[in-house]
Amino acid sequence: MSPVTRRQFLVGGAAVGAGLVVAFYLPRKRETPGRQNDFAPNAYLHIAPDGKVTVVVARSEMGQGVRTALPMMLAEELDADWQNVAIQQAGASTLFGDQTTGGSASVRTTWDPMRQAGAAARAMLVAAAAKRWGVSAADCTTDKGFVIHSASNRRVGYGELVEDASKLPVPKEPKLKDPSQFKLIGKPTARLDTPSKANGTAEFGIDFRVAGMKYAFLSRCPVIGGKVASFDDSETRKVAGVTNVEKVGGSAVAVVGDSVFAALQGRKALKVAWDDGPNKLLNTDAVFEVLRKAGGDKGVSLQSAGDIGSAKGRRIAAEYELPMLAHAPMEPENTFAHFLGSSCEIWTPSQVPQDVRDSVAAAVGLKPQNVRVNLTLLGGGFGRRLEHDYAVEAALVSKAINAPVKVMWTREDDMRFSVYRPPSVHQVSAVINESGMPVAYTHRLISPSIAEQKGMPVDAGIDPDLKDEAAFLYPIPNLSNEYVSPPCAVPLGWLRSVYAMQVAFANESFLDELAHAAGTDALQYRLRLLAEDKEIQYFDTRWQTARLRGVLQLVAEKSGWDRPLPAGRFRGIAAHGCFGTYAAEVVEITIQDDEPRVERVVVAVDCGQVINPNILEQQLHSAVIFGLSAALRGQITIEHGQIQQVNFDSYPILRNNEVPVIEGYFVESREAPTGIGEPPVPPLAPALCNAIYAATEKRIRKLPILNG
């Protein structure tokens, strides 16, 4: 596979000349001005003369199912035969807009363009058939890859029409189906990538190879931010198969070999003197001390209503604290690079192919258009592959040794030299009236800004992620939702659901505290707060209390909230909205050997139109288990400036015998689809801690739950 460009469609494939290539929304920038045969530069679809439909996927497949869900949206409007649809993975391109895979955005940002591409192609195929038959297009229908004229009992396959259809103009505003007409969208549909993942042929970054390729592992300073002072490679050079030792930038030394094992052994033998830099005394306490010291700082307002100072009543306050976390995708970081002097070829498991292209270009001194970035499958992402440090390393090493090379990270490298979910402290307080309901509510989120640390644009001191993740959706007359971003010495990154996991833990734990203070059932307390239908405009999203109420009611109904639990079983509830999606969860636990055992989790989501309930169920399971791993044991700690977790023994993730029964439900909806990869993560930890409180009257305000 290679990056899909308009040009390759025209000249690259055998059948392409006679195929139908359809582009849709109007070009923002014409790549090849003056080319007569271009429909437009955005080519998402190719139909070959044999009827084979190929859909270009311009997002990264990391398990969340884009290689199935995105083609489904297009195939629906095309009325393609789903059995005859294949995908092609796009690499970094200028034709597809922003190709970043993150923010639970792949479906919601391609919902319109993918459907329009399919609808436009369908309209052209119908027009071609109608013309051939001398009938009105309005009298033709389509089904499973055929245009049908029922009146004359004629039908013709799409493949036979591609040449005629190619000569027709692309409709600018093709008519889209009414959702009631959907044949594929909303139906549980098997993933297209499953067979290759059951027989070992699926190609991940670590699997990509070319003849003569070298392997490289980098030695990095154990202390955060440290640099190479000097190194002695005399022992390394004695390892059979080691071919090169190269300093990479100022902070790493690459050991290159003919095999993985040679490079690994060579790195083991390398002696590096490190300049530890300013962080050699850094520890976890010091990281949190910075946050606590910032506790009194003036914050920026994310959301406000009324005047919190004017509220009269009893004040309740609590502080919550969340640790740093690592992503730990099963496939450790790696990238293939081949620097060829005037160009560079990259094969990488990345969520940001365009960032890879631009950063590699800058690092090796090329123009971005001369860096070809191809995407493999990603062995998990969770936000780790929104970074592209490892791809830049590969390009630099390839340039240094003038050969194709695969830079690989070990699991230990992944744990110790990564970026981490920011630590956070939350100061939450409320003033409650005589009936125990809050008349004022304050949440101060104190957490370093990921964007700010990376030098990305931060508008008015507000980390842009907070706009998708930190809304408070309970209408309380006096509200202050504030943000303080102290500095942080630890490199930070976006972890699945990002700040939502933090703010939901604080808010939904605290609401439980308020409900207990009021002597009210935790579900009823929330429903009372959400009793009125209101819209809450929070940055770019218009949230609806009715939809949050809807998922709470659904999860309550499905979990049997109104029925008593068996003896020894306890439950908690929580809800949150992020990335446009509403999610609520009920967690049921027992206590065994003084530890909580999670027995059952019921999840309800409202993410608008569901594309594929099969993948939705996968994502609900995945998010619950991800959230549970984090809540129970997830934490990254630091001593002497060094990350203390090194592998899955010291950073355990949930195993098969610890997963609870998980039941997922969604609200039937015709609203435009929103995200699903992240939104079911945040409610898990507070729902679990609320269950623990129900069982033990012990309030957990600091994660992880099981310490050590």
Partner: protein, 156 residues
């Protein structure tokens, strides 16, 4: 360096590698069978699971020098002779998300079912407990193992 003749997936392959090379890297780099995955390098995650004489084995902590007399099976060799009934169950249950750990999961399940053709759910969970999945496919893994067991009722 030393030369070994490995019996792998029904064939014999000569390799010339350092004796302490983990079998994982011989399989992946030297023999170019990349279905077997590296996950932790320490026998903790199970992504590298292969069969040695039918026993599920972590290839990342098994030195090549220790396997010369054993039959090695990797995910690529699992369906030779059409014998494997686990892969169809994996497809039927649509288990995979990212898919990276699934070769190891399938190898683990196949070895387990060969010894325990009619497992209880608890036996399935225990057998699969050494194989980590960061995507959280555990429920479908259980279902696929149970389906494979049911489907193979007459096969053995």
């Amino acid at each position: 360096m030393a030369e070994y003749t490995l019996r792998i997936n029904g064939t014999e392959r000569k390799v010339n590698v350092a004796p302490d090379t983990p079998l994982l890297w011989v399989i992946r780099d030297t023999l170019e069978l990349t279905g077997t995955k590296y996950g932790c390098g320490a026998g903790i995650c199970g992504a590298c699971t292969i069969h040695l004489d039918g026993e599920a084995t972590r290839s990342c902590i098994t030195k090549v020098s220790m396997v010369a007399d054993k039959a090695i099976t990797t995910i690529e060799g699992l369906s030779q002779n059409g014998a494997n009934f686990v892969q169809p169950a994996w497809i039927a249950e649509d288990v995979s998300q990212c898919g990276y750990c699934q070769s190891g999961q399938i190898m683990q399940a196949t070895a387990f079912l060969a010894k325990t053709p009619h497992p209880t759910e608890q036996e399935i969970i225990e057998a699969m407990n050494g194989n980590l999945c960061r995507c959280g496919t555990y429920h479908r893994i259980r279902r696929a193992v149970a389906r494979a067991a049911a489907s193979s009722g007459g096969a053995r």
